[in-house]
């Protein structure tokens, strides 16, 4: 089977009664890398969490389909089983559960009963992916994200990405908190996933990540919508000129959600 398609149509999302996403359309196909940029508080993380099924977000209108299947009907774990993945802006810490137990449990949940990965195979895979991301082996026995530095958490998210091999991944500010070397390592990891079977949505504030991972499409989010889309050159221009020119072009005074009339 060729790559998957994630199709978002007319999406509206509320949290605690206030609307954050206000009609958003986006299609991501296997083999494509999309980037979403946009000022703070414009709904980028909300979009990512809502697609993955965060319980606090309510979808009031619109649809999300993965290869024609209604994603919004699925439980969070079922979305993962269907091939979706979200690297979170702020990954949770889980005390008492080792990174390695967590990862094995996740892999086995995705493979299903009777098809569990052998311990040897799991260890070999985990070892090699950790090497690839230059994560010290000791992290496999540490409790999940507990006491990890900001950068270590981000690397650990990418480790999970490489271990779980989803068909569609959303990476929310995977570059924030990374030093230059880590940025290279993480980018290399993401690039290693590149294939016609893998579609990716990268949420970022900085062009620097996109120097390592060339996006096919770049979208700008403001006021809970995609207000402009283009190619890799759009990110370049944003880096140089900021967002003011877009606001001017579109007559937007305040880009944040909820502030406009």
């Amino acid at each position: 089977m060729a790559g998957s398609t994630l199709k978002i149509e007319g999406l509206h999302v509320e949290i605690d009664g206030s609307e954050i996403i206000k009609g958003l359309d986006l299609e991501i196909n296997g083999g494509e890398i999309h980037a979403i940029m946009g000022p703070n508080g414009t709904g980028k993380s909300t979009l990512a969490s809502a697609i993955m099924g965060h319980p606090r977000y309510e979808i009031t209108q619109g649809s999300v389909h993965l290869d024609g299947k209604d994603v919004l009907e699925m439980e969070v774990d079922e979305r993962a089983h269907a091939g979706m993945f979200l690297a979170m802006q702020y990954p949770s810490e889980i005390s008492g559960v080792t990174n390695s137990d967590f990862m094995r449990s996740a892999i086995n949940s995705n493979r299903g009963e009777g098809d569990e990965i052998s311990l040897m195979k799991f260890i070999r895979k985990m070892d090699s992916k950790m090497d690839e991301l230059e994560i010290d082996q000791s992290f496999s026995q540490r409790y999940l994200n507990e006491g990890f530095s900001g950068g270590e958490k981000k690397r650990n998210e990418i480790l999970q990405l490489l271990m779980l091999e989803p068909r569609i991944a959303i990476l929310d500010e995977i570059d924030s908190g990374l030093d230059i070397d880590a940025l290279k390592v993480v980018s290399k990891g993401i690039n290693s996933m590149k294939s016609p079977d893998f579609g990716c949505l990268i949420i970022t504030h900085y062009q620097r990540l996109l120097n390592y991972i060339t996006p096919d499409k770049v979208h700008v989010m403001m006021q809970g919508r995609i207000v402009k889309s283009g190619g890799a050159e759009l990110a370049q221009r944003l880096e140089e000129e900021g967002y003011d020119w877009i606001k001017e072009e579109l007559g937007i005074e305040d880009e944040k959600v909820g502030e406009q009339a």
Binding site: G53, P55, V76, M88, S92, I94, S95, G96, S109, Q160
Partner: protein, 436 residues
């Protein structure tokens, strides 16, 4: 006694029962005093838990003779699974409904003069020694109706005696198996470790029938002599129908060390009292306990350490998980008496609730009558963070599996610290059974 038509346990019954077992006069007398007391005394009143409606009176007391078995292979496979096989040397007594049905002990134990006997045999063959410890300084018959009933109706248990300067290498293990789901267990355990001795004792309480109702009324007395060390490990796993009163008491003399490792995993309503008296200077107690409550179970746990000795140290660490509609009260009491200078009392109680309908209370209590001490406590009652749940499920982990991981993770700081490997393993298995 509350008016109950089924209640047939009176002085005559108790006297006959005692005589049938060939008990010494003093024990018969103690039983008779106790059955009279049971009439007058009230039930205990554990704080914030109403036990008045709990079944403490409906059970079958005398399960008759039990045929011994020749080999552990003849045991129910769930019972076999409880046997600790971590050491080559095996010292084990298996009880069925209070009666010993299998016993093995190393020759080494006999050579050392160690007694490891069911309490019925101990009463007949070592009457004087048993009398010295039975209902001794750790516990009183007239504390309340349940202690009195316990003595009156005592029908099983173990007597362990370790002479001075003797170190028992391999653990002594008992399994108290309730096979008849209506059998009431009035189980009494004594561990008497004389000065400079060392012993590890492991016990498992188990039943496998979920439906019928019965009572377990358990008292343990642990006497830790000067400079002696006792490790006491227990995993309780009675099924839903069994109402449990369990009272484990310790008494520690100068420089003695008593450690408790308890997995309180009953499925039915439970009142637990675990009290250690640090009598001697430099005595030390360490209590670690974990618990999981589920369905509509109600439980009340008291963990007390009482300091009399100077430089005595007492540490309590309790973690509990509440699921479904379960409710539990965790009380930790550190009492430091006047004169116990330089005593150190620390306690931590943590409760995790997995459902909206679960209830958990953690009450750390420090009662200190001495200035020159160190004492501290920490307590928390929390719920699973929905962000954690979302995070785990977003990786494909089902809600049940995520709960399983979170429960293991929450209990890990206690389980990993348990001093007895066999208890750790048994407990991990029971936790595994309880998380789904």
């Amino acid at each position: 006694m509350s008016v109950d038509t089924k209640w047939t346990y009176d002085e005559n019954y108790v006297r006959e029962y005692s005589q049938k077992r060939g008990e010494p006069e003093w024990l018969t007398e103690q039983r008779l005093t106790a059955i009279r007391l049971a009439d007058e005394l009230e039930l205990p009143k554990p704080e914030k838990t109403n036990i008045k409606t709990w079944n403490f009176t409906e059970f079958k007391h005398d399960s008759g003779e039990a045929a011994p078995i020749q080999s552990v292979d003849d045991l129910h496979e769930d019972v076999q699974a409880l046997i600790d096989r971590s050491t080559e040397e095996q010292n084990l007594i298996v009880f069925r409904d209070g009666k010993p049905i299998y016993r093995t002990e190393s020759d080494h134990l006999k050579e050392q003069g160690v007694l490891f006997l069911d309490i019925e045999t101990a009463a007949r063959e070592h009457s004087d020694l048993l009398k010295k410890y039975f209902m001794g300084s750790a516990v009183e018959v007239d504390e309340h109706r349940l202690t009195a009933l316990h003595v009156a109706l005592l029908n099983g248990g173990t007597f362990i005696y370790v002479p001075k300067n003797v170190t028992v290498e391999a653990p002594l293990q008992t399994i108290y198996w309730q096979e008849d789901p209506e059998a009431g267990l009035f189980n009494h355990v004594i561990v008497a470790a004389e000065d400079n001795s060392q012993v590890t004792y492991l016990e498992n309480y188990a039943s496998f029938n979920r439906e019928q109702s019965a009572v377990a009324n358990i008292i343990s007395e642990v006497y830790t002599g000067q400079n002696a060390k006792v490790s006491y490990g227990g995993v309780d796993h009675f099924e839903k129908g069994v109402t449990t009163y369990v009272n484990r008491r310790g008494y520690v003399e100068k420089d003695g060390y008593l450690e408790w490792a308890l997995g309180q995993m009953n499925e039915g309503n439970t009142v637990s009292d675990n009290t250690t008296v640090l009598q001697g200077d430099g005595s030390h107690a360490d209590t670690k306990a974990v618990s999981i409550g589920r369905e509509d179970q109600s439980q009340n746990f008291w963990t007390n350490i009482v300091h009399y000795g100077k430089h005595s140290t007492g540490h309590i660490l309790t973690h509990g998980v509440m699921k479904d509609k379960a409710s539990s009260i965790f009380n930790g009491v550190t009492k430091i008496k006047h004169g116990a200078t330089k005593a150190d009392g620390q306690q931590t109680e943590r409760v995790l609730m997995l459902s909206e309908r679960a209830r958990g209370d953690a009450n750390p209590i420090l009662l200190i009558d001495e200035d020159d001490v160190t004492a501290g406590h920490a307590a928390s009652v929390g719920r699973v963070d929905p962000m954690q749940m979302f995070y785990m499920m977003s990786r494909g982990i089902t809600r049940t599996e995520a709960e399983r991981l979170i429960i293991h993770g929450f209990l890990a700081p206690v389980v990993n610290e348990l001093p007895i490997q066999a208890v750790k393993e048994r407990l991990t298995e029971v936790i595994e059974r309880k998380v789904y």
